[in-house]
Symmetry: C2
Subunit: 412 residues, 2 copies
């Protein structure tokens, strides 16, 4: 029988009643003829409770014990989900990560999946079981200790199972009903997308559209797992949600798929840096070591052997970035006249695989912003994305203007 992976997040299994509602969706897919692998998170709030206990007990905790404690949340949901399905006469049983066994690296609390053998669960499907309920977010290291994949690891577990079992699709049930052209809280014209390409989703996710964990999208892209994001609270509808899929599965699409934003950015400029080979490494090496997540980088045209270097980072990391730059100057690694920080900026981006074949997207973007008298401070572009830094107070206006300009309220 074809296999379907269905993943339910914490809010979708927060109570026994919600577990029952989720189980009905699983039962429906079994009736549709699928063998189903269900990946569950801990009941909403449980993981935070467990993490709180660990942190209160031991501020610099042993991550192996953290994993032993925190993994218990998913274990409870998996058992309850299996029992709920059995009550509905659906043959089901639960698996903990170590029982599969989902093998991971030994990087406790942030482990990576190494292997998911399919024999154990596959054997039970062959014997007539219809649903394998697997505790998400956890696995087992080579030494036999429990590992967790880090926050959001349940999405990654689901995609990895879909890849290992060659599932027809991986449905991620969450509390939003799909991926939108932009944040509906900012533009009431935001429209739910029926389909979006992996690459677009990655750009949108890393820009703050926190529907899917980035790692899970990367994994889905690598193994071409068709990923569907949908709400566990809406109607049961085969066409619900947004399908995140390979570019080739998208027949028609707008040039721009969506407008993303990131509110709390800062722009930092090193004024009059000596422009010599290796200067970028001399600047960004120390920043990386200090844990600063540098995003955009712009280097001005050099004059008389000196240049200005501008970069952006989250506003909360400005102090750390300043300290790193001043130390580098002290150590004689770099030399600059001044360091200027602008902490009132935001980033707005348009994303779309259509940009690969269509020209003029950048021009239209700049024109729309100009028409609203919004000044652009930094520009960066990639193959499928154009991002600008602007004053934070214009962020909402810019998102709305761009959404209108590219007519995202209309389907392709």
């Amino acid at each position: 029988m074809p296999i379907l992976v269905m993943k339910f997040g914490g809010t979708s299994v927060a109570t026994l009643d919600r577990i029952r509602r989720a189980a009905k969706r699983v039962g429906r897919e079994v009736a549709n003829g699928y063998d189903v692998i269900v990946i569950v998170s801990a009941m909403a709030g449980k993981t935070n409770e467990l993490v709180g206990w660990v942190e209160e007990t031991s501020p610099f905790f042993d991550a192996r014990e953290y994993d032993a404690v925190v993994s218990s949340g998913e274990q409870v949901t998996a058992g309850l989900m299996a029992l709920t399905l059995q009550e509905m006469d659906v043959p089901a049983r639960s698996w903990q990560g170590w029982q599969v066994p989902l093998r991971t690296t030994a990087a406790h609390a942030a482990a990576r999946i190494v292997d998911i053998p399919t024999e154990n669960i596959g054997q039970k499907f062959a014997e007539g079981m219809r649903v394998a309920v697997v505790a998400g977010f956890q696995g087992i290291a080579e030494d036999g200790r429990i590992t967790t994949l880090g926050r959001g690891g349940s999405d990654t577990t689901a995609v990895a199972f879909a890849a290992a079992f060659g599932a027809e699709r991986c449905d991620i049930y969450t509390d939003v009903d799909g991926v939108y052209t932009t944040d509906p809280r900012i533009s009431d014209k935001a429209r739910k997308l029926d389909r979006i390409a992996f690459e677009e989703m990655l750009e949108l996710a890393s820009l703050g559209a926190k529907v899917l964990q980035t790692r899970s999208v990367e994994l889905a892209m690598r193994y071409k797992v068709r990923l569907r994001v949908l709400s566990s609270f809406g109607e049961m509808d085969d066409a619900a949600g947004t399908l995140v899929c390979d570019e080739e599965d998208i027949v028609e699409s707008n040039v721009v798929a969506g407008v993303a934003y990131s509110r709390d950015e800062a722009k930092m400029t090193l004024i009059s840096v000596a422009d010599r080979p290796g200067i970028a490494a001399a600047i960004f090496g120390p920043l990386s070591e200090a844990g600063v997540n540098v995003d955009m980088i712009v280097q001005n045209i050099s004059e008389e052997g000196r240049t200005d270097m501008t970069f952006s980072c989250p506003v909360g990391q400005v102090a750390r970035a300043e300290a790193a730059m001043l130390k580098a100057k002290e150590d004689g690694v770099i030399n600059f006249h001044d360091l200027v920080a602008d902490t009132d900026v935001a980033k707005v981006s348009v994303v779309g695989i259509g940009m690969r074949s269509h020209t003029g997207v950048a021009a239209q973007m700049f024109e729309s912003l100009s028409a609203e008298n919004i000044n652009i401070k930094v520009i960066t572009t990639s193959e499928i994305k154009i991002s600008v830094l602007i004053d934070r107070k214009y962020m909402e206006l810019a998102v709305q203007a761009l959404h209108d300009a590219f007519e995202l309220e209309k389907a392709a």
Copy 2:
């Protein structure tokens, strides 16, 4: 290094603060030179919460899923205890049942321990670890699924570990400070015993002194594990609590160790039963099949081929016993004139290994009750116990009179 097993029940690990207090007791024994195996229960209330969820989800639940859900409680405590010990600079790590692995039968929710290999934990002790924190109450069946030992199984886990590792002693920390000569709520002269023999403890436990699970005492007796019951809330004192030990380890003791009672008993009499070979089997077979826990049995002297047969059982099982007897009469298996039930009786017992070598205990018991004008309805005796059924309203008076008569307020 010598090994000590320390078990902490649910109330002793109910909060992070109590876990810290328990960990201090463990740290003290490590400082005393022991390698310690700590067995933990779930935080008080957790197991009930988990069981409640399972029962609400599925009234006739799959016990394998019950075990998967319910075992998570001990897992959390084990991790938190290990972290707490690490914070105190005591080298410690946690083990779940399946990691030891504590192998059990496949009787889910009521499994029995098959084997506890010592290699895994022993190896870590050899490498310098000082405390192994083990999640109590759980193990793994041959098919790789988690099992639980049933309620109170953490005591049994502790004793089994003590036996497997040849521990010097097994300390059971609970919310009472030891075993008393009788229930302090009934007699304010009740005295804590320093030592009690396994056999005495078994008689007291099954008679209602619910300090230790019966199975754990049986196991301790079989493997001669010195078992100490003590409070986790009192002073840290090497002489605290009550040592449950082999008879040979008790130098001086009173003839009677304690007075036990059971409040809700019923006495049933089959009047004028045909007295023939096999009549006892014909009566008690059907009672056993009906799930009636028959305790005391007395048969009167036979007159003209007929006799009266009296037995006691818990008052809640009277209706069941009556139905079974009437059916047996209908089926022609037995014949009797009447069936009389007295549901207002209680059982009072004196227990002591000293009875083996001292005579006159029964006579003194009957005399004391007679002095209080308490009528004895049924008597049974064993090697180390004499039990009587009396009217329930005299129960407290009888316990106090016997405690006085055998001078149990005085140590031997």
